[in-house]
Subunit: 217 residues, 2 copies
Amino acid sequence: MEMTETQVIKAAVIEDIREIREGLTTLINFTDGFRCTGSYRSVEEALTRLNDDVPDVLLSDIGLPGMSGIEGIRIIKARFPLMQILMLTVYDDDDRIFDALCAGASGYLLKRTPPAKLLENIREAMSGGAPVSPEVASRVIKFFREFHTPDRTDYDLTPHETRLLKLLTEGYNYATAAAKLGVSYNTIKFHVRHIFEKLQVHTKSEAVVKAMRDRLV
Amino acid sequence: MEMTETQVIKAAVIEDIREIREGLTTLINFTDGFRCTGSYRSVEEALTRLNDDVPDVLLSDIGLPGMSGIEGIRIIKARFPLMQILMLTVYDDDDRIFDALCAGASGYLLKRTPPAKLLENIREAMSGGAPVSPEVASRVIKFFREFHTPDRTDYDLTPHETRLLKLLTEGYNYATAAAKLGVSYNTIKFHVRHIFEKLQVHTKSEAVVKAMRDRLV
DNA sequence: CCTCTGACTACCCAAATGGGTGGTGACTTC
DNA sequence: GAAGTCACCACCCATTTGGGTAGTCAGAGG
């Protein structure tokens, strides 16, 4: 027994379906280098008993009786910031994936993940990775891409108009923008009118909203 | 030879370092179920010869002589939308990762990825996944998380104020917002003043910018 | 040469907004 | 029962804004 605690990855499970919960516990305990510190039926149960033997990695379902897994990890992550949390669930819709990641999950695996892969993913989480199932990775990246490249509808703004629009989004009014750009108040009004025409809006507020949404600034 | 073309994954490589390029080509050709349709030293070369035998998956370096891999995949993806493109590179900085994904890359692998893993990732890309190295996944998710949860500074807006603020970001003015919410113009002004106080701003434009930045709406 | 465009300035007037005051009623919490 | 919060409404007045018209000037390009 020279392999010490430092080498062994301690994992715990929150899952309400008995067969799955016991299957995971067995899988973890019967694999070299892993130890299951606990298996819980609900977030509430985990919260009271997690302190007995704090795991390195926590696998959690989302659809749980009582508090949902998403809410659960928010609380658990706040209490144990270093614990790596992996969602292990059947849900693969965007909202749940993003909510889970934002709540503090390090990874998001679908339940059909094969056992060997699952153990590999736990190791990956421990070494700072973010294990996600292929479908999930694909969704995250798709979302990210859409968010980051807004089809570049640039409305043909001239450089000056763009600069002015940027100032407007930063809270400048016409007078202060005029001072900032070193031109007269009337010039600002002139350019603003052009911006409105190009953006198809009629107020400063609409213009700044459009500028921010379409990432013109 | 009963295994037909439909089963074989056709891959191509863009990589300027000869050893790596030939290593990848050999790896792909000597693996069952894969065939290498071409290996190119630059994006320019790939563009002229890719049509000879169009691959399903393209592995590309980023640091290439002439056009960079990022610019390259933007062009290639536009010309061959169905082609899955994987970046295979030494760079792991955020900017390059995000630029590549936005330019149309399906995945982003670091060059230290072991051969077996690499082949698995090519298969994953073919089946609609988004293979990324663990470090890369971690960065994408971290970025995503920061972007999506802006520290929830909620300024204690009441439900009504939040509704009104949302309308303002949608281009409503006081009069139309009043009609929409079924209250009087003066009531809108009253609430708007409170919103301004809580958000510490003095104009509608500043309020909508703040609302959008802090994802209050 | 002439035209076009971008950038610039000015004046006028109407509409929208910002900020101050005053008040009502309902509902919760202490 | 008092204090607080939320929602509601009104009047006043100054400032900001939106939109129209009417110009100048410099540089690019046919």
